[in-house]
Each structure stands twice: as structure tokens, then as C-alpha cells.
Assembly symmetry: C2
Homo-oligomer: 426 residues x 2
């Protein structure tokens, strides 16, 4: 496609999505759930076809010399498909929040005023690699009564096309509009630039991928974006605390998985417990091969840990999202310094305190300016499923609209409803 | 100030606001309410000083040959000041929503997860003319625990400076940070361009003023904007309806006041009631000097009304916000056409149906894609005070975050709170 054709194509996608969104918004819960259950069935029945399509992507990726972890992210294993199918069934089983009326109260004038939950309209998801995002986004779109435009990565185009065919089939089975979920068929990058500049048709952009992609979209988008750029999460070990609990949490928060955005990247330790705590966590990290980039005070203590991989932290370390077996470690005077450090260097994603002091816990929850604030729990819990949202379309570090894990509610809006009996303003 | 100085100045304002916002976010309700009551007292005690400052603005406006309605909007009458003082007292009397914990539920993992209402941080309000907006914005900012940067119009600079002095005094009396509410002291337009591009310091821009101002800010802002551009509101008179009620509502919605954004600009009438309804409302509008720009079908009926000021509507009329004694009138086949017309031509602000049919009422509420949807009530009710919000910082036609009248809740955000007892993810 040339530039003109792409502009026309994305405009058509937008127009069709907008029209479909009006129909989706008035679709009863039973029909939406029927489509979701049909999609689950089709995913289970289409193993061979999906494997064949996926093989094309995998072959192309290997031929292009993509590193094996990247190839891995493209894989649509039978287990991954079963997880997708179960996700659709779980969404079908969840209550429908569309149309819910909130807080209907009579005002002094006599009118009754409340708010109704309605779909946002059209969302456009721009993502990379993992083709199962196609099913996650499609199923959330159906359940929330929105229309979706899905733009996956070029590396997964064959898998995404095969999955989108199943989505179309499920929509048709339930009698839903064919344009309720549209996959962008071109892999031309210019299409992204067009899609993020269609305020007449697209209500929100949800990018998921590398920081470069998200930054570019945030700068250029002409419509609201739900995004998170960094997950520079902290675990603060307070004085007083249960040292064994602190070791358990700091271990899990860092080493349970290294690549997720909710992994802890920086460990803050109150001076009063540093002598008791640091040698223990240092031994755990040393055993798991986690490098510790520490402030001089922490270094002085950690040097006694056999086999510890140590380095002196530079200022850049406090702002770093490693996504790797590396952690920055800093001894702080206490709670106030910890909060100030987190608000200064963190990415407002997820931060935790380990403490026995009730007032400290309350202050941490109030004053840390992050989407998720935790007491005595691992930052790894910051996740739509762990929070009981049933599904997650992404995590937001914006303060507007959706903050933290974003599920169905984040894809909705509240409009005001006024009921009168001929009331006029006097 | 030159461009460099303005950039430095706005940067300083932002830095100071951000620092103050952290303190405001942890301020107890009693202190915030003390500041609000002090501000009410100061407003009442400072009549002569405020009148003198206001006189400078009025003199300058008249010397510049501003039309009298514009001069009028600058006026700080004793009644206007008393209304401001009462507004502060009402805010002080309202419950404080900051810190509220919502929906704390235990998850299968054992952690308890809920959400805490917190201030957004720093908002920047950009407005024109009416100096009482300075007090409305300052008082909402104090109550909601935010810091505010206020940029009023150059035509009201003397009044705004005098009011900002009282705000500073009230903050000081309550022991609140002096930079919690800052008035931009320069009237240079370049300052606006700077303020809307400070994402590190400003969390949201709230423009209030003419469409040109709001469009420019929306296009150029690098932070989220809460705005409404147009109020092209509709009243749809359905078949069946109580004709007397429809006349009463259509009269009030158009003629109660012509300039507010929630005045009805377009009247849609179901074909089945047009013969009964149009002559009656036509006579009301004729008596009040309201011009009717009507479709051919409506014109044919309205021509029989003595003294009616009639014109044939062009397509442009359906999209017009007159803010004047003019209304467009269209006969439609019924509910579906009315909804389609409103969603196509309206501005998603406020739209009302007058009906006796319960199913029609439900469908109108569900399918009209506007911030406020009303049944049997005047569109003029779309207002923060009428909705029971206690105060209003503006009205939003965005779907994101705040939609419709925006009060204290619109100046807050929800962050996730996780409480554990040493829980780690398995």
C-alpha cells in the first residue's frame, strides 16, 4: 500500500469500528457471552490451523536470526491457546457491568441524578510479538461492549490473521457486527501513525510493547493513551519489620521473574535493620546470581556475604528498570527518606513497604504517589488477575482514568443520567 | 518578561506547585476546611479593596471599548463575592473524599486489594474574564488536596491579583504551603504555551473560555486536558408524550438563559406529535423573540403561528451552538432517527427526551452518546450544583476520566492499595 492507500484504509477501519461500536454498546450480555464461548470453542478446535499459521511466523523469525527468547514470545503453544480459551470462558462467566446505574439520588430541584456505565466506544491496541494478545484484546473488547482495532507486530502477522479469523467467526455465530474487532491487515508502520490520529473514530489508544514504541505513540497520538512506560518498582524494608518476612518478600519481588514490569528493581533498607537484613538477602541474591549495585553503606555490609556479585551504585542506577538479575540497594535513614526517594526516582508503578509499624504503613500508602502501593506483599502481585479484575488489557502509570492494572472497567466510561417528571430550572 | 524569562518563570511555578502538592495531599480535612472558612471571611471583609482592584479592570475594559456584556462579566459585585464566600463555606462543610478506601476485597492469593482516592497532584486552570473563577478554582483545589496554577485573563488581572492575595492569606492562616495556589502574574500569552507543556509538574490542564482558546490548548498540550468545546444540546419531543410538559421543558431549556453551554440549541419533534406540539412551542418562542430555523415539515406547521420569526434551516444549523435566541427545529420519524441525529450532530454534552414511553426512555438513555442524558427534564440542569457535586470546576465532553460536570471527584484519582502479611507470588 502507498501512503494514500494507507490513510484511506485506516480511515475505513475507523469508520467501520465507530459504526460497530454503536451496535456493540446496545448488545445484551447474553449475546456477548455467546460470542466469547464460541471463541473459546473455536480456539480449542483449531489447533492444527493455528499451528500451521504460527509455524510461518516462527520460520520467518528464525530465518531473520531473531534471538531465541524473541522467537519464544511468538510461540502459540497448545497450553497458550488453552489459557486463551479459558480466559474467554472466564470473561463470559463474569457479570456484565455495562448499563449499571450508580448513585441515583434525588436533588433539591426534584430531579434524580446518577451515572450509567457505558463502553468507551472504540479502542485501538498496538502491540508487539505475543499473538495471544490478539485474543485477550478481542475478548475484552467483546465483553466491555466496545469495538476494537488491533495492530499486532509484523513478526506475528500470520498467527494474528489466523486468530482474527476465529474472532470473526465467533462474532458471526453470535450475530454481532463483523467490524466489532478488526485486525489491521497491513504491516506497514505508517498505519500506526494514521491510527493514532483519528480522534473522530478512535477513543483511546492502548500501546503494549517496548518503551520506544510507547514513547513515540504518546508523543504523536491525537487521542488519549492508556500506557505505562517504566516499571521501576521499589521494596522498602522498614524499621521495625519482621526480617524473615522482609527476606521472603524481597526475594520473591526480585527473583520470581526478572522481565515483568512489576519486578522490584530497587531495594531500600532502613538504617536500623540494615545489619540484620542485608546479609540475609545478600546471601539469597548471591545464591541466585543477582548482582547488587549498592550505596557505600550497603556495600560495607554486603562485602561480608560470600560469593556476592557487588558493584557501587551510580545515580543512574536509582532510575533504572533492569528487567534482569540486577538490583540497586540503598540504606536510608527511615520512612521519610524512603518515600522521598521512591517519589523522586520511581516510575509511579508499584512500590511496597515491609513493616510492623501501623503508622508507617498508613503513611506509605498515603504518600507514595504510585498506581499500586503495598504493605507486606511482593510487588509481583500488581496484575489484573491477582487484583481480581478477571482480565487485564495492560497496566497504566497515568493518573487519569485508568491507573494500575486495567480491566473491563478501564474500557468503560460513566455518563450522567437525569430523570425528571417535567422538571425545569427556576 | 522575554521568552527565556517566561520559560524560567513557569518552570518555577511548576516546581513550586509540585512540591506544594505533596504537602497538600497529606493535609488533614480540618486544616483544609479552616483555610476555606478563612477565605470566606476574608472575601466578606475585603469589599472595598476588591472593589478598588475591580474598578481598575472595569475602567481599562471600558477605555478599550469592550462591549458592555463583556464588561459585565468582569464585574465583582458584592453579591458575586457573597456567592463566592458561601461557596467556600459549602465546600468546608462537605465530607472529605481524600483517603477513602474502596472495595477492599481478599483475593485467592490472600492479599487484600482495594483502591484509595487521592488528589491528582497539580492542575493548571486557564480561563478568561470572570474573576470569581479564581476563587472557585482556588477553593476546589484546597478541598481536593491538589495544588493549582491559575492563569486568568489579562482583562481581569487586577481583580485576580487582589483575590489571589486573599487566597494566600487564607492558606497562611491555616498553615498550608504558600504555593498551593499560585496565580500567574504575567499576562504574556507565551506563559500559556509554557504551562501546557510541563508534564513533569502539571497533571492536568482545565481550560475555560472561548472555543478558540480551548482548541488551541487541546492541540498543543503535552498533558491531559479536561475540556468541553461545544454545548450543542438537544431536546427531543417523543411520541407519545405529555404535550404540556414538552412545551414547559422546551421553553425552559431554550429561554431560561441563552448563553450557557447547557441551553438547548436544537429541538427534535416526533412526526406523530408535531401537529399538536409545534404550534404551542412556536407561540412561546414567538412571544420571547426566539428565531426558529426549521426543516420544511416543521416550517409548514410553524407558518401558522402569528409573529413567529422563521427561517429555513440549512445543514450547518444542525451543528450550530447559537448561545442566542435562535433554535433549530426538525421533525423526525421517531426515536431511532432522533438518536441518530443527536449522535451525528450533537457535541456529546447534554441531551433530553420528553416521553411517556418507558422503553423509549431506556433506549434514549442507553444509546445517546452524551455526557448527560435526561428524561423529562430541562437540559439546563446539567450543572455541578444541580447534580449535587457541591461545586463545579467545569463540564467535560471528553469520555476519559471526568465526563459531564466536574467537581471534587474529577480532581482526584484512585490508586491501588494492597495489604499483605508477608505474601509472595507463587
Amino acid at each position: 500500500m502507498n501512503a494514500l492507500n494507507i490513510a484511506e484504509y485506516t480511515h475505513t477501519l475507523g469508520l467501520q469500528a465507530k459504526a460497530a461500536s454503536a451496535l456493540m454498546a446496545r448488545t445484551p450480555a447474553a449475546i456477548k457471552n455467546k460470542a466469547l464461548r464460541a471463541l473459546a470453542r473455536l480456539l480449542r478446535d483449531s489447533g492444527p490451523a493455528l499451528a500451521a499459521a504460527n509455524a510461518l511466523d516462527l520460520e520467518r523469525a528464525r530465518a531473520a536470526g531473531l534471538p531465541e527468547p524473541m522467537v519464544d514470545r511468538l510461540k502459540l503453544s497448545p497450553q497458550a491457546l488453552e489459557t486463551c480459551a479459558q480466559g474467554c470462558e472466564q470473561l463470559a462467566a463474569m457479570p456484565d457491568i455495562i448499563g449499571e446505574l450508580q448513585g441515583m439520588q434525588q436533588q433539591p430541584s426534584g430531579i434524580r441524578v446518577g451515572r450509567m456505565r457505558v463502553p468507551i466506544g472504540v479502542f485501538c491496541m498496538i502491540y508487539e510479538s505475543r499473538p495471544n494478545v490478539t485474543i485477550e484484546a478481542a475478548s475484552l473488547s467483546i465483553k466491555s461492549g466496545n469495538a476494537a482495532i488491533l495492530r499486532g507486530g509484523s513478526e506475528a502477522i500470520d498467527s494474528n490473521r489466523a486468530l482474527a479469523l476465529l474472532v470473526a467467526q465467533a462474532l458471526a455465530e453470535a450475530g454481532l457486527p463483523e467490524h466489532a474487532v478488526q485486525l489491521v491487515q497491513t504491516t506497514d508502520r505508517a498505519a500506526v501513525g494514521q491510527l493514532i490520529a483519528l480522534p473522530a473514530y478512535v477513543d483511546v489508544i492502548i500501546p503494549r510493547g517496548g518503551k520506544g514504541l510507547i514513547e513515540r505513540i504518546s508523543v504523536e497520538a491525537k487521542v488519549p493513551v492508556i500506557k505505562h512506560l517504566d516499571g521501576n518498582c521499589h521494596t522498602y524494608v522498614d524499621d521495625p519489620c519482621d526480617i524473615a518476612m522482609a527476606v521472603k518478600i524481597a526475594d520473591n519481588a526480585k527473583t520470581h521473574k526478572y522481565s515483568p514490569c512489576n519486578a522490584t528493581e530497587s531495594l531500600l533498607v532502613a538504617r536500623g535493620v540494615a545489619q540484620a537484613f542485608l546479609p540475609q538477602i545478600g546471601a539469597v541474591y548471591a545464591a541466585k546470581g543477582v548482582q547488587m549495585r549498592a550505596c557505600p553503606q550497603a556495600l560495607a555490609i554486603l562485602r561480608a556475604v560470600p560469593g556476592a556479585d557487588l558493584a557501587e551504585a551510580t545515580e543512574a542506577d536509582w532510575g533504572e528498570e533492569y528487567l534482569a538479575p540486577i538490583i540497586s540497594v540503598k540504606v536510608v535513614a527511615g520512612l521519610e527518606e524512603a518515600i522521598a526517594h521512591i517519589n523522586r526516582w520511581g516510575s509511579h508503578h508499584t512500590d511496597a513497604i515491609v513493616t510492623r509499624d501501623h503508622l508507617h504503613a498508613q503513611q506509605f500508602l498515603r504518600d507514595v504517589d504510585s498506581a499500586s502501593c503495598m504493605v507486606n506483599a511482593s510487588t509481583r502481585f500488581a496484575d489484573g488477575f491477582e487484583y481480581g479484575l478477571g482480565a487485564e488489557i495492560g497496566i497504566s502509570t497515568d493518573k487519569f482514568h485508568a491507573r494500575g492494572p486495567v480491566g473491563i472497567e478501564g474500557l468503560t466510561s460513566l455518563k450522567w443520567v437525569v430523570l425528571g417528571e417535567g422538571d425545569v430550572r427556576g
